[in-house]
Every structure is written in structure tokens, then in C-alpha cells.
């Protein structure tokens, strides 16, 4: 069996924490943006769509560097957040979560947007005639019907966050115990003489986590789909 050292465990747990937090925090924003893009026409919609998809096409180093400039201690947003709310991103695991959330955001938004677009608006009208205001229509009809898309988006975002490397290492560096994720640890081991064995252990772990995530998402999506078609 795998015999993981404490340092490797630290990297694994940190990776899971960062990916989970990134996905959970990004989800409400993702749903809001997906809904806007699916349902509203407004000035600058194409621009918003483009900006969201930017992390998908930009070199991750560029995204990481932009985060460093804006969210670093002396960056405009970073300074504001740390002075007013005590939230610090630079060289912290929270910064890694931010980088992962932003890198995963386009993957989160797309399936949710498609799912919301596919919701039958006539059902929403029916809900309105039954007394549901717009917020309740969204919560009780649109969102549950878009649930498979939500699940797919979360899994994709989580997977992206788990594997993110370039933006994270550029923004928050590679500090064991704070920002060193599985990917960063593997990278470090490959750069260290005699690190191959440790690297392969972590590679196996990464494969295992990804497989488990895929199986869970498949299972959830099937359950969600079944609710609409069976008893």
C-alpha cells in the first residue's frame, strides 16, 4: 500500500481543502452569472462572457501574475481587503483557493448556464400563476431543474482546482503546509534528486481522487436525472 509521509499527507489535505473551498465559494457567484448569461440581455454581456472565459485561454501564469498585482498585499484589491476585513490572500492557502476558484470559474459557469437555458420557462410561468414570486420560482423550479448542470459544474470546477498549478504557484508560491498542493509537491519532488518515489506516490493519489470525484458526480447526476423521469 501507499506509505505516505506526513508532508505528503499535508499536501493532499491542503489540496482537498483548497479545491473544496474554491468550489463552494465560487458556486453562488457561478449560479448568479450563469443565470444572468442564460436569461438576461444587457449591455456588456459579451464582455462579461469573455472575461469569465479568459482564465481558460490565458496562460495560467498570466492569471497568477494578474492576481499577484491586484490581490497581493500592496495590490489595490488586496490592500483594501486586508486593511478593512483582515482578509489576506498573498502566500496563504486562501490565495491558492482564490486562484483555483478563478481558474475553475468558466468550467463552473458553462454547465449551469446550459442547464438553466434548458429549463422549460412554461413551468416557471405555471409557478407564477400558483403564487410564486420570482425568487421562489428560481429556488423551487429553475434551480432544482438545473441541478444536474450544477453538479457537473461543481465537479469540473473541483477537478480544475485540484489540478491547478500555474496560477497558484505564481500567485502564492510553493510553501509546504500553506500553499503547496499535490501538483506543487509533485513538481518539487521531480526537481529533487531521489524524489521520484514520492512523486509517483502523489501521482497515484491524484489519480485516485480524480476517479472518486468522477464516480461520485456520475452517481449524483444519475440520481438527479432519475428524479425527473422515474418514481
Amino acid at each position: 500500500m501507499l506509505d505516505l509521509t506526513p508532508d505528503e499527507w499535508t499536501a493532499i489535505l491542503l489540496s482537498l481543502r483548497i479545491a473544496l473551498v474554491a468550489t463552494i465559494v465560487a458556486l453562488p457567484f457561478g449560479v448568479a452569472v450563469a443565470w444572468l448569461l442564460a436569461r438576461k440581455d444587457f449591455w456588456g454581456k459579451t464582455l462579461l462572457d469573455g472575461v469569465i472565459h479568459l482564465p481558460l485561454v490565458l496562460p495560467p501564469v498570466v492569471t497568477g501574475y494578474l492576481l499577484l498585482i491586484w490581490f497581493g498585499r500592496r495590490g489595490p484589491i488586496g490592500a483594501f481587503l486586508s486593511d478593512n476585513f483582515g482578509i489576506v490572500f498573498s502566500f496563504r492557502w486562501t490565495g491558492a483557493a482564490l486562484a483555483c476558484g478563478i481558474m475553475g470559474f468558466p468550467l463552473l459557469v458553462r454547465p449551469i448556464r446550459l442547464a438553466i437555458e434548458a429549463v422549460d420557462r412554461r413551468l416557471e410561468q405555471a409557478a407564477a400563476t400558483l403564487g410564486a414570486n420570482r425568487a421562489w420560482v428560481f429556488l423551487s423550479v429553475t434551480l432544482p431543474l438545473a441541478l444536474p448542470g450544477l453538479i457537473a459544474g461543481c465537479v469540473l470546477c473541483f477537478a480544475k482546482a485540484l489540478g491547478e498549478f500555474g496560477a497558484t504557484i505564481t500567485f502564492v508560491s510553493n510553501i509546504p503546509g500553506e500553499t503547496q498542493t499535490i501538483s506543487a509537491a509533485i513538481y518539487t519532488f521531480t526537481q529533487t534528486p531521489g524524489g521520484d518515489e514520492a512523486a509517483s506516490r502523489l501521482v497515484l493519489v491524484a489519480i485516485a481522487i480524480s476517479l472518486v470525484a468522477l464516480v461520485i458526480s456520475e452517481w449524483l447526476a444519475r440520481r438527479a436525472g432519475m428524479r425527473f423521469h422515474g418514481e
Partner: protein, 227 residues
């Protein structure tokens, strides 16, 4: 006293709707050929389509008045709507579908009333099922029950039998006849036979305009669109 008073105008591209009629309690048939604008008219009453100009009142309550800039949103009109295709919520059980309007309208639970409507429509054996695999007739009965259980002041039925075959139509009509004393209804159809059984007054719509208002005799003076 008039139950519902409608006086509306709406332009939709080349087509324009201009309708003015009043209804008493009972079942008012909106009768006319397909494409006459009946559904749009009913959607205006429900608040799903906004008229360009006019006024809609129910009893003494104003639902829409373009001059006074009143437009009560659909969710506050308390008008039950049975759509042609049922539009049951696929992610909810039949029981939750039935309860949806009551919950959203923040009405107190009334198990006795629920039981009475469930029995009236014979849907008790379906409560735990999901709508996905029900027959068209069962679905329409549940849609009727769902609309009734929000205790509407008016029930709109838009071709509620159109998606059903002849046998299913015969199955549902008696249930609809039972509703006549429950709540005032506006019943949209292009089918004279169906309306002859259920209507108490008739508004004939043609090309977006009211062609005639009267009793069931209007159902006889029609051409072939009715089977």
C-alpha cells in the same frame, strides 16, 4: 354582477387583439378557431402577457389598468390556470405539485379541503408518484387539482383536453363538470362539443376580436374547426 371584466388591446406583429367582454359566475367559454388569440387573451387575464392598453377587473379588484398604471403581477392575482400541457413540476411528487400553490400563496394547510379535491378528481392513488410517467388524463386532473388548491378566485382552462384522445376526453369531462359549482371558470376551446357540455355562457373570438357574446346557441353557428 359581473365576475370578470376584460377590455384589452394588444398588438403582436401583424396580429392585433382587441377584446371586450364581461362574464358572470359559471363557466364562460372562449370559443373560436385556432389562432384566434384565445390563449393570448387568457394569458393577459393571468398576468403572463401584458396588454398594450385596457383594463381587467375581477369582482371589484383591478388587475390591470393602463391608465392608472396598475399591473398586478401574475403571482399575486390568485387566478388558477390549467394549461393545455398540464405543466406539472417534474421534480416534485404529485402531492407536492398539489400543495405548491397553497405553499407559495402562503395559505394555511387545509387537509380536509385537500382530501375533498383529491377525491373529487380521483387522484388519491397517484399522490406519491412523480408526474413523468402518468397518463395525459391523470396529469390534467392533477393540474386541475393543483390550480384549485390555491383557492383561486377564477379558474382559467386553456384547451385542457386538446392533448388527449377521445377516450381520455370522455374520462375528464365529468370531472370538469363537477367543478362548475366550485369556482367561476373561463374555458378556452375550439371544440364546440366539449363546450356544449360544460359552458354556461359563450364569448366567440375570431381573429383577435370578440365576434359575439351569448349563450350556447353560439356554439351551433360555427364552421368546421369544431369536430
Amino acid at each position: 354582477m359581473s365576475m370578470l371584466a376584460v377590455d384589452v388591446e394588444k398588438r403582436l406583429g401583424q396580429f392585433s387583439i382587441g377584446a371586450r367582454f364581461k362574464t358572470a359566475a359559471g363557466v364562460t367559454a372562449l370559443f373560436g378557431p385556432s389562432g384566434a388569440g384565445k390563449t393570448t387573451l387568457v394569458n393577459m387575464i393571468a398576468g403572463l402577457v401584458t396588454p398594450d392598453r385596457g383594463r381587467i377587473t375581477i369582482a371589484d379588484a383591478v388587475l390591470f389598468d393602463s391608465q392608472e398604471r396598475i399591473n398586478v403581477p401574475a403571482h399575486r392575482r390568485r387566478i388558477g390556470y390549467v394549461f393545455q400541457e398540464g405543466r406539472l413540476f417534474p421534480h416534485l411528487s404529485v402531492a407536492a405539485n398539489l400543495d405548491y400553490g397553497r405553499r407559495m400563496s402562503a395559505l394555511a394547510a387545509d387537509p380536509a379541503e385537500t382530501k375533498r379535491i383529491v377525491e373529487l378528481l380521483d387522484i388519491g392513488h397517484l399522490l406519491d408518484r412523480r408526474p413523468g410517467k402518468l397518463s395525459g388524463g391523470e396529469r390534467q386532473r392533477i393540474a386541475v387539482g393543483r390550480a384549485l388548491l390555491m383557492r383561486p378566485r377564477l379558474l382559467l382552462l386553456d384547451e385542457p383536453l386538446a392533448a388527449l384522445d377521445a377516450a381520455r376526453k370522455r374520462e375528464i369531462l365529468p370531472y370538469l363538470e363537477r367543478l362548475r359549482d366550485e369556482v367561476p371558470m373561463v374555458y378556452v376551446s375550439h371544440h364546440a362539443g366539449e363546450l356544449r357540455r360544460i359552458a354556461t355562457s359563450v364569448v366567440r373570438i375570431d381573429a383577435g376580436q370578440v365576434a359575439a357574446v351569448g349563450g350556447k346557441e353560439l356554439l351551433d353557428a360555427v364552421d368546421a374547426d369544431a369536430v
